[in-house]
Symmetry: C2
Subunit: 465 residues, 2 copies
C-alpha cells in the first residue's frame, strides 16, 4: 500500500525533495540485498544529517511505518530487505570521514563511508581497520557494524566488536545517543556500544562511529599448506593455535572446493591434495621469519603434502584469488546455493566436517566447506537447483540437520553473516528463552513502536512465550 501524499510530504519537508525517492522504479533497487531476496519499499530517504534521521524516525513513529536502514546491501541474510515495505533509509549520502586521529589510532566516520575508504585513508598513516569482509570494496561501515562483520583477519585482530570505540545513533524513539568512549578503555555505564554492534538495525540507526585502528604490519607472508585428508589439515589448525605465533589468517578449503578451483583456475595445486590451508603471518621485517618457522613446524604433520611460502606478491595474490573465486565457482556449479557460516569450537571441526559429508550423502546435496578455520567458522555451501522442488526440500532439510549438528557441537549458527530473515526461525534453537526474552525487551526499550527493521534478527515475542 503506497504512502499517503501527506506522509510523503512530511518526509520531503524533513529531508528535502532531492533526498526522497518515491518513484517505484527508483525505489525498486533499494529492495534487494545480496540474499537475492526482494521487497519494494514505499519510499527511500537519503539523509545527509543526523537531524534528518531523527525527523524520519518521528514520522515513521507517528504513522507506524516500518523503517529499514541500509548501507550497500551486501549482506547475505536479507537483513536490509524491507519485507513489510515502508521506508528504506539509505546511508549512502552520509559518507564523510569526520576525523582521522592518527596519534590516537582511530578514525571517526559517518555510516555510509565504504570499508575500503577507511582502509585507504588510514593506510596513509600506516594504519588499518581490521574487519575485512569479502565485500570490503563496496560495503559500508554502518553495514559492517550492524552485522558485526569480520573476515580472515578476525583470528588475530578481532571483529567489529573489538574494533569500535564510540558510536552515535538515533534510537527507534528518535533519540540521539552516544555510546562508548574515544579512549581504548572505559567502564562507566553499561556497554551499549557492543549491544548496537551486530544488532542489524533493530535497535537504532548508527550515525557516527569512531573505529579503532591498528598499525599495518611491515611484512606479511602467505603460506599454502596442502594435506592428503581433511583430518590432517584440521589437526594442523589445532596445532597452529596451540603455539605462540598467532597467524593473521588461517583459512581452510575442503576437497570439493579445491576441485572447483582446479577446474576454474590455471593454478597448479598438488593433485592429490584433499584439503588446503592458507596461512598468513604478519609482523616486523625481522620477526616474521621466526613466526613463519614456528607455524610451519605446527602445520607439518604426517598427512601434510606440501608447505609453500609464497615468496612474491604475485604468488600471494594468486593464492588469495583461489580463495576468492570459490564463491563464483560454486554458483557456476549449481544454479542455487545456501551459503551458511556456522561456527564450532576448533577441536570440533573434524567431527563437523565428517558429519557434513554424511549429511551430504544422506540428502544427495553436494556440500562444500571453506572459511575461517582459525575461528572454527566455516562457510558451508549447499548446492542445489531451486526449481527442482524435491532438491529444494532436501536442501532445506539438510540445512536444518546441519544447524542441529552445529548446536550439538556447542557451536553457533552464525559467525559473521548474521541472522536477518534467513536464520530468524532458528534463533530460538540457539538462544535460551530467558535470554531471548531479555533481548526482545531491550529491543522494546530502544524501539517502543517496533518500527525499526521489523521481522529481522530476533523472532517475534509470541514465539518465545
Amino acid at each position: 500500500m503506497p504512502l499517503e501524499p501527506h506522509i510523503i510530504r512530511s518526509f520531503v519537508e524533513a529531508c528535502g525533495q532531492q533526498d526522497v525517492l518515491v518513484n517505484r522504479s527508483e525505489c525498486w533497487a533499494y529492495g534487494y540485498d545480496n540474499s537475492k531476496q526482494h521487497a519494494c519499499p514505499d519510499l527511500v530517504v537519503l539523509p545527509h544529517q543526523t537531524g534528518q534521521i531523527q525527523e524520519c524516525v518521528q514520522i515513521c513513529r507517528r504513522y507506524n511505518i516500518p523503517l529499514t536502514t541500509r548501507g550497500r546491501g551486501t549482506n547475505t541474510t536479507g537483513a536490509t530487505v524491507p519485507i513489510h515495505s515502508g521506508v528504506i533509509l539509505s546511508t549512502e549520502r552520509m559518507d564523510r570521514i569526520l576525523e582521522m586521529d592518527a596519534s590516537n589510532r582511530n578514525i571517526q566516520v559517518e555510516p555510509g563511508v565504504l570499508n575500503a575508504s577507511v582502509q585507504e585513508r588510514a593506510s596513509k598513516h600506516g594504519l588499518f581497520w581490521p574487519p575485512d569482509p569479502g565485500s570490503s570494496d563496496y560495503c559500508t561501515i554502518g553495514g559492517n557494524l550492524a552485522c558485526n562483520a569480520a573476515g580472515p583477519r578476525a583470528i588475530k585482530y578481532g571483529t567489529c566488536r573489538e574494533n569500535t570505540l564510540e558510536l552515535c545513533a538515533v534510537t527507534g524513539a528518535g533519540e540521539m545517543i552516544r555510546t562508548g568512549n574515544a579512549t581504548t578503555k572505559g567502564v562507566v555505564g553499561l556497554d551499549l556500544t557492543r549491544l548496537l554492534v551486530g544488532s542489524e538495525g533493530i535497535l537504532a540507526i548508527i550515525t557516527e562511529a569512531r573505529l579503532k585502528l591498528s598499525p599495518i604490519a611491515e611484512r606479511t607472508d602467505t603460506i599454502r599448506a596442502t594435506y592428503q585428508d581433511t583430518r590432517s589439515a584440521i589437526e594442523a589448525v589445532v596445532e597452529i593455535l596451540s603455539q605462540n605465533s598467532m597467524p593473521c589468517a588461517l583459512e581452510f578449503i575442503d576437497e570439493g572446493s579445491l576441485n572447483l578451483i582446479r577446474r576454474q583456475e590455471k593454478m597448479r595445486f598438488d593433485n592429490c591434495a584433499k584439503a588446503m590451508l592458507i596461512i598468513e603471518v604478519d609482523g616486523l621485517e625481522q620477526t616474521v621469519d621466526a613466526d613463519v618457522e614456528a607455524i610451519l613446524r605446527a602445520a607439518s604433520n604426517p598427512g601434510c603434502i606440501n608447505l609453500h611460502n609464497a615468496s612474491d606478491s604475485k604468488q600471494k595474490t594468486e593464492l588469495w584469488l583461489a580463495r576468492k573465486v570459490l564463491s563464483q565457482a560454486l554458483r557456476s556449479f549449481a544454479p542455487d546455493k545456501i551459503n551458511e557460516d556456522v561456527v564450532v569450537p576448533v577441536s570440533q571441526l573434524p567431527t563437523l566436517l565428517t558429519e557434513l559429508e554424511l549429511l551430504s550423502k544422506k540428502f544427495s546435496i553436494p556440500v562444500f566447506s571453506f572459511g575461517h578455520a582459525g575461528n572454527g567458522n566455516l562457510h558451508v555451501n549447499l548446492l542445489y537447483n531451486e526449481s527442482d522442488e524435491r532438491e529444494a526440500v532436501s536442501a532445506r532439510q539438510c540445512l536444518s540437520e546441519i544447524f542441529d549438528l552445529v548446536l550439538r557441537l556447542n557451536g553457533t549458527l552464525s559467525g559473521e553473516h548474521g541472522v536477518g530473515i534467513s536464520k530468524r526461525d532458528w534463533v530460538s534453537k540457539e538462544i535460551d528463552p530467558g535470554a531471548l526474552c531479555l533481548m526482545q525487551k531491550i529491543k522494546q526499550q530502544f524501539d517502543p513502536d517496533q518500527i525499526l527493521n521489523p521481522g529481522k534478527s530476533l523472532p517475534d515475542i509470541a514465539n518465545t512465550d
Copy 2:
C-alpha cells in the same frame, strides 16, 4: 532493621544452615570492600549452586530485600558495600574450575574462582587469562567480570570484555540465562555478554564464565626508561604506539611517585629522572629482540635519560616492585587518598598531566599520577587528611575539577575501577541523558524489582529525567 525470623528461615531452607550467616559479628566482615567503606548486611548467603542463587533471588523479590553479590571485595569503589543493607551473596564457595579446554584455549569456571587459580591452571597448558588486576592473587573471576577488570596487559591483550566467551547468570527476576558462545566468533542475537561484563552486579549474578585464554609468551623483556620531564616520557608513549611493535605493558610513573619509590626502596634510579616508563615486550624467543629494538628506538628522544633492558628476572621483579609498592607508599605519605583511574586519549596525556599539576597547586593537594599510559589510563592519587575538614573539602573540589578536565579532554571517568558508590554522582556528566535512560530501562528489564545492588553504578532514574 534485622530480617524477620521467617525470612531468615526461607534462606536457610533454600541454602542450608551451614551456608547462611546471620550472626552480626560474622556478617560484619562482609560489609567492607577495598573502598574502605562499610555497611553491615542483615544476612550473608554462601551458595554452592545456581539453584540456591535462584531461590535466594526469589526470596529477595518476595520480601523486597536488597541483594549485593560479592567476590573478595577487592574493588575500590564501594561496589560491594551493601549500603541499603539486606543480603550479601558471597560467591566464595562457588570456586570450581568446571572445564579446562586447552585445545580451544578456554577455561570454564564458577565465579568464586580466584584470578590466580585460573592463571595457575591455565599455565600448565602454556596459557593465561589476560586480565591481571593488582589484586590478582586474591580477587575472584566473578568480581573481575562484574568490574571489567584490566591491568597492565590490557594494552595488548584487552580487558575482560575482550576475553570472555560465554556467561551463565541469574537475573534479578530469578531467571537463569546463558549468553555468548563457546566459540571465538558469534553474531546470533544481541550481545548480552558484554552488557553483563562491567555491570557491577546490577543486572544479574554471574554463575559460570567461559574465559578466552592466550598462549604465554616464550620470553618477556622489561625495559626501564627514564626521562628528564613528563612531556618527554609521554612523547615516547605516543611514539611507541605509532609503530608496529605492541608492548604488553606501557606504564608511566610521575615525578612525585618516583620520589616516593626512591624514599621507600633501595632501588637506584637516575637521580635527575622526573618521569619513568616501564615497558614490557613479549613474543617468541627469536622475535623479542627485534621488537625491543623497535620500541627502544621509539622510546628514545632528546629528553630520555636512560633506557635499561632488565636482563634477568631479579631486575624485572625489582622494577615491578617499584610500581607495586607505590600504592602502599602513597598511603604512608598521607593518611587518606582518593585513587582515581581516569582515561584520556593518549595524545591528551601531556595536557592532562600539566593541568593536574596546576590543580594540585590551586587546591594545595599533592597529586601523584601513574598507571597504564598505553591506554591513556592514569591512576590519579589525591593525598590528604580526611580528619582535616578544610583539606577534605579541597580534595573533593579538586577531584571534581579533575573529572571536568578529563571529560573536556574527551576522556572517561574510569578505565578499570568502575563506578560503584564513589563515582555514581558523576555518571550523568559523562553519559548523555538518552543513553543513561536506556541503561536504566535495561536494568529494569533484568531486575524488575530493583533488588540487585541498589544505589550503585547508575544514578537513580529520577536524577536523569
